[in-house]
């Protein structure tokens, strides 16, 4: 599968600044307003990701692919944030305990989110319907996903050109990200408060993404956003 690389031009992103602009790709349609053609173009282009995740997913999120993100965490929301900033609709299925303000802090736009807290036993049909409407669907499947269901959903994905981010196991996912270490900073025994978390994210996958890459990230940073962190812990400024 050939990946079309994005020409995304990001402004400087620092921990503490908001999420910057991302140029929207051709491929699927511009979600604000009428679509030039309702027929989706499968497998063409990719959805942008936040610049902090650019090293882990150098081609962005390829359309028609599945990304497995381990346990449900802020990382799943961070994967969707880049596309949401660029104007995509994101649906979250199977997460009744979603913290919406955490999602907003990472960069998702609440005006373009659809939440299906409990898709029930017919969740593959629900996810397929959501993929028809939204570019990106975050899914926490209820337990193990049988191979037949996986194949059917992958076929739907290829047809409609969306991206499925799964908070769980998915054999054959094109990309896999895992949080392997996490360290909270700012809180001591009895004073301070949770200020930021440094996580070590490991990414691998299939095809061109098979080589594992690691990255230290602020997830979340002191203002709730996602940023790059160095190996050496930098001084945290007291922001009050």
């Amino acid at each position: 599968m050939t990946l079309t690389f994005i020409e995304s031009v990001f402004d400087i992103v620092t921990v503490g600044a908001g999420i910057s602009q991302a140029r929207w790709l051709p491929g699927r349609v511009n979600c604000d307003g009428a679509s030039p053609s309702d027929a989706p173009q499968p497998g063409y282009g990719a959805l942008p990701v936040l610049s902090a995740l650019g090293e882990l997913l150098p081609g962005g999120l390829a359309r028609g692919s599945v990304v497995a993100a381990g346990r449900w965490s802020l990382l799943c929301l961070a994967l969707a944030a880049g596309a949401s900033v660029a104007g995509a609709w994101c649906a979250v299925a199977g997460v009744p305990q979603l913290g919406v303000s955490a999602a907003v802090g990472v960069g998702l736009d609440p005006a373009r989110m659809l939440l299906v807290a409990d898709p029930g036993s017919a969740w593959p049909q629900v996810v397929a319907s959501l993929l028809d409407g939204c570019e990106l669907v975050l899914l926490r499947p209820p337990g193990h996903v049988p191979a037949q269901v996986r194949r059917r959903l992958e076929a739907v994905l290829r047809r409609c050109g969306g991206v499925l981010v799964v908070a769980g196991d998915w054999d054959g996912a094109q990309a896999r990200l895992l949080v392997t270490r996490q360290e909270w900073s700012g809180i001591e025994a009895g004073h301070g408060r949770l200020r930021a978390r440094r996580v070590l994210v490991v990414a691998d996958g299939r095809g061109a993404a098979a080589r594992p890459r690691t990255q230290w990230l602020w997830l979340p940073g002191p203002d709730g956003s996602v940023g790059l962190a160095d190996q050496v812990v930098t001084e945290m400024q007291e922001t009050g």
Partner: protein, 491 residues
């Protein structure tokens, strides 16, 4: 309504509005079902009742007033019938729907305010311009009125009387078509002049269900497509309808028709919503008594199912242009709406929600989930200070119902917090809802929060803590009356 009287110069017909002030806004299906009883009580007295929204309905007052011997007698009879059914209501009679709604608001509970005939302008004059945008007037000038209500006081126009004294052309120049409509309203006229042509018969649309549809959801789904067709047909002729009649026929021949206020402002989704309310109101009482877990509860309509749904536009008027994207801050494209409606047809109306940022202190209160298609109003305003709010960064996993937990100190005794926010001992171990005991490596708190202390039944006094356990997970816990709960997890 006697529409032929509203040519320019003639005052609009007398309208009686019955308003039940305790009805929940926004309406839910239970409210719609309960309001159906109110409407049938009014219908016993006057056959042609128009439902404005669940909570308010209107009738043309001229004919029934002649029958009952006067408007006071008519209003008295209607209020008596509705309060006899167990609902608190108040009524207002005036020229035109706008003035009648204001009169109903001005009435004392259980009585009616009657504005003198032909003096609508004088009756409306002392009202402030904010009524153009208030919540109750939302049916007529929903969002366009907000801009006017904000701007007119700054221009020195505080009441509708002063607004009416302006030349009409100025109102239209400054505010466009909504300004013209508001100006006609302030003068006591009907907001739209009628179309001269009588409507042609084939503007109504209908859908048959074969086999009959037993549940409400497929009917509502079809209603949206029908409403789009109806709007397309009206728009092709440059018309809009003032009311839409929704007619539903069940398999055993029973027919139910209800007239809904439209004013050309309703989207296809909103028309489908009214069909849902109508079906909810038409449920037989036995279905409402079924247990909540049973399939079919609150979803099944008449026994045998629905065979026909038809939408008939009533009283067409000339259509003005209307901006798109009035509902919500993002334009919902058709593709997204189709997908959301399909999932709603599978799982129910409340299954697909859109989050609206709201105000609040706790993690569960920071956003209100609003079902897709409903108005996006937050429960609490988000732009207030909300002291005691949890600090940024906020947790990603929020428990809607707090999980019980146990937190003990190094000696094994439960940790308590006094009323003066003094800790009994530093927390050492935690067990979340019966899970394994984890050692607490870092903690912060207590942060006392006392909410709504002025209302004894709603008062909550709790202390929040941030706890980090040995596996690196951070938790937001709270203790209230000695009981610990997990409110959220920083995932």
């Amino acid at each position: 309504m006697a529409a032929h009287l509203t040519a320019a110069g003639f005052p609009p017909a007398r309208v009686l509005v019955v308003w039940c002030p305790e009805w929940p806004v926004p309406p839910d299906p239970d409210a719609a079902r309960a309001f159906e009883r109110v409407v049938s009580l009014v219908e016993d007295l006057c056959p042609k009742v128009e439902v404005l929204w669940p909570g308010a309905c209107a009738i043309a007052a001229r004919g029934p007033a002649r029958y009952f011997g006067g408007e006071e007698a008519l209003a008295g009879k209607i209020i008596e019938a509705v309060t006899g059914g167990g609902f608190a209501c108040q009524a207002g009679i005036a020229d035109g729907l706008f003035a009648a709604r204001l009169a109903a608001h001005a009435a004392a509970p259980g009585t009616a305010t009657i504005a003198p005939s032909g003096q609508a302008r004088e009756f409306l004059a002392p009202y402030p311009v904010s009524v153009l945008s208030s919540e109750e007037m939302a049916g007529l000038l929903r969002l366009d009125g907000a801009e006017m209500a904000e701007l007119l006081p700054r221009l020195g126009i505080a009441t509708l009387g002063e607004f009416a004294r302006l030349p009409a052309a100025q109102a239209v120049n400054r505010f466009g078509t909504p300004g013209g409509m508001a100006h006609r309203l302030a003068r006591g006229l009907d907001p739209r002049p009628l179309a001269a042509r009588p409507p042609s018969a084939d503007l109504s649309v209908s859908a048959e269900f074969d086999p009959p549809a037993p549940l409400a959801e497929p009917v509502v789904f079809a209603a949206k497509a029908l409403a789009e067709r109806m709007h397309a047909g009206l728009a092709a002729r440059g018309l809009a309808c003032v009311c839409v009649r929704v007619r539903v026929i069940s398999e055993d021949g029973q027919e139910h028709a209800r007239l809904w206020r439209h004013d050309g402002l309703l989207s296809a989704l909103a028309v489908a919503e009214r069909v849902r309310w109508q079906l909810a109101g038409w449920l037989p009482d036995t279905a409402a008594e079924r247990r909540p877990g049973e399939p079919g509860h609150q979803d099944e309509v008449q026994p045998g199912g629905i065979t026909l749904l038809s939408l008939i536009p009533d009283q067409v008027v000339r259509a003005h242009g209307r901006q798109l994207g009035l509902w919500g801050d993002a334009v919902v494209s058709d593709r997204v709406a189709r997908a959301a409606l399909r999932v709603q047809a599978m799982l129910g109306h409340g299954a697909v929600t859109r989050p609206v940022p709201a105000g609040g202190r706790g993690p569960a209160e920071q956003a209100t989930p609003v079902p897709f298609g409903d108005a996006r109003d937050p429960e609490r305003p988000p732009d207030r200070p909300w002291p005691g709010r949890i600090p940024v960064p906020v947790p990603a996993t929020v428990c809607q119902d707090p999980l019980p937990a146990r937190v003990t100190d190094a000696a094994g005794a439960p940790v308590t917090v006094t009323g003066r926010a003094r800790l009994s001992a530093p927390p050492a171990r935690m067990s979340a809802s019966g899970g394994p005991w984890l050692v607490i490596t870092a903690w912060a708190g207590p942060w006392p929060v006392a909410e709504r202390w002025w209302r004894p039944q709603a008062a909550r006094r709790r202390a929040r803590f941030q706890l980090v356990t040995e596996d690196g997970t951070a938790w937001l816990a709270a203790v209230q009356d000695g009981n610990w709960h997990i409110e959220a997890r920083y995932d």
